[in-house]
């Protein structure tokens, strides 16, 4: 923090939400480019958690337990994969296309054609898709970003597949390094026991150790999606890979890799 002393007081205030919005903007801008201050922010929030502990008081009323469990029983789940379920036609399309291309050995030549087809399909369906996703502001924002990630020419696109043919798991990663934005979609994944999880890894161009880029479990059809895991903006990707780890995930990848793919 010595190099960032000018942000030290403001960072502490920001961590507990006591920095006015007008001043928070400057801190947020600095955080975008300073991993050290992002780590310090996490630690300051840990300190704040300790402060919260000092509030220890009476237990909640007994009825609240029943109230929660009744609500749980009736509440729909909103996991990452739900978005995938709701839009299988285009979530699967790019992955299926990549698999077909791999089988015919024309992957590289056909990739551009494939992307143009995807783009045309996306544009055709954009209007209805946006209307559907407008149900919630949060999901709508994610969908717009997905469209951008899938169609923008300046987004790095990486296809991942097992080295040896057969109907194997396939995936596609769309990555915008300057913002650290990542959209990852996979299909044909084998189911895992609840004690295990799939984990996505970003292999940095710098040669640094692989970075965790989110954990996920496939749905009943073997499909899964990860969107915008916490990746520091500016991290250049050499490759992406998927491993199976003990739930809820690992800091280091465990061999062998289920999927891997290098950036274009």
């Amino acid at each position: 923090m010595a190099a960032h002393e000018q942000f030290a007081d403001d960072l502490a205030l920001y961590a507990i939400g006591s920095l006015p919005a007008s001043e928070a903007a400057g801190v947020e801008k600095h955080l975008e480019t300073c991993a050290e201050c992002r780590r310090e922010l996490e630690s300051l929030r840990g300190d704040a958690a300790l402060l919260a502990l000092s509030a220890a008081g009476p237990a909640p009323p007994a009825r609240s337990r029943e109230r929660l469990l009744a609500a749980v029983k009736n509440a729909p789940r909103r996991q990452r994969m739900i978005l995938y379920h709701a839009k299988p036609w285009w979530a699967i399309a790019p992955v299926a296309a990549s698999l077909a291309l791999a089988i015919f050995g024309l992957f590289l030549w056909r990739e551009n054609t494939n992307l143009r087809q995807q783009q045309a399909e996306m544009q055709q369906k954009q209007q209805s898709l946006v209307a559907e996703l407008a149900r919630t502001e949060h999901e709508s924002e994610k969908a717009r970003e997905m469209l951008y990630m899938m169609t923008s020419p300046d987004v790095q696109k990486v296809s991942l597949a097992t080295p040896k043919g057969a109907p194997q798991p396939v995936a596609k990663a769309m990555y915008k390094s300057d913002k650290g934005h990542l959209l990852f979609m996979a299909s044909n994944l084998a189911p895992l026991p609840s004690s295990k999880t799939y984990e996505l890894w970003l292999v940095p161009m710098s040669g640094a150790a692989p970075m965790p880029a989110g954990t996920f479990m496939p749905d009943a059809k073997g499909g899964a999606m990860v969107m915008n895991p916490p990746i520091p903006p500016g991290t250049e990707a050499k490759a992406f890979a998927v491993t199976v780890e003990d739930a809820p995930g690992s800091e280091k990848p465990t061999m062998p890799m289920v999927l891997m793919g290098a950036g274009q």
């Binding site: 006591s18 840990g46 704040a48 509030a55 009476p58 029983k73 909103r78 916490p230």
Partner: protein
């Protein structure tokens, strides 16, 4: 800066995994383990038992609907819940829309907060640290954290310079970190 981070223990991992797999009994375990802590934080901020219960319910249901909001690789569930409970309570107290998505909250806690016994030990240390702070520092961090005041509002309330308030809040957080080291 903290150099090590305690990852979720076995109990937390089991609960998180269960929630991700849609197991309702995992939510019961979550409630049994953390409801008192979350409720206490909400009650301290809001001062109203019914409102505190509503905030607790909202936080647990958000985790049920969207378990990926909590990233087990980035710290303990207990610390995350404590910070989210405080933030949500401040938002509710001021009757404003949530300013921070639960997805955005990353909390690094370098101590064990998983068991009731561990949290009790931590509580005693934190209360000791708060009692040992100068009264002005304790008041500044209390106004900012539990009442959700900005440092400008704290300065207006206490009549102290802005810079002094900023430094007091930062120093108070540092003191807590040191006492737990």
């Amino acid at each position: 800066m903290a150099s090590a981070r305690i990852q979720p223990g076995e109990a937390e991992r089991s609960i998180i995994s269960g929630i991700r797999n849609g197991r309702e009994d995992a939510m019961a375990q979550l409630y049994d383990r953390y409801s008192s802590m979350v409720y206490s934080v909400a009650l301290r901020v809001m001062g109203d038992t019914s409102a505190a219960e509503d905030v607790m319910q909202e936080i647990f249901m958000q985790l049920w609907r969207n378990p990926s909001a909590f990233d087990a690789n980035r710290g303990s569930l207990a610390a995350w819940l404590a910070v989210v409970a405080r933030n949500r309570s401040i938002d509710a107290l001021r009757k404003r829309r949530p300013e921070t998505s639960v997805d955005d909250v990353v909390v690094a806690a370098d101590i064990d907060l998983e068991s009731d016994a561990a949290r009790k030990i931590a509580l005693e240390k934190v209360r000791g640290a708060l009692a040992g702070m100068p009264a002005e520092q304790r008041r500044a961090i209390g106004l900012a954290f539990f009442e959700g005041l900005t440092h400008t509002e704290v300065a207006a309330r206490t009549g102290e310079p802005l810079g002094t308030v900023k430094t007091r809040i930062r120093t108070a957080l540092q003191t807590l970190r040191k006492v737990m080291a």
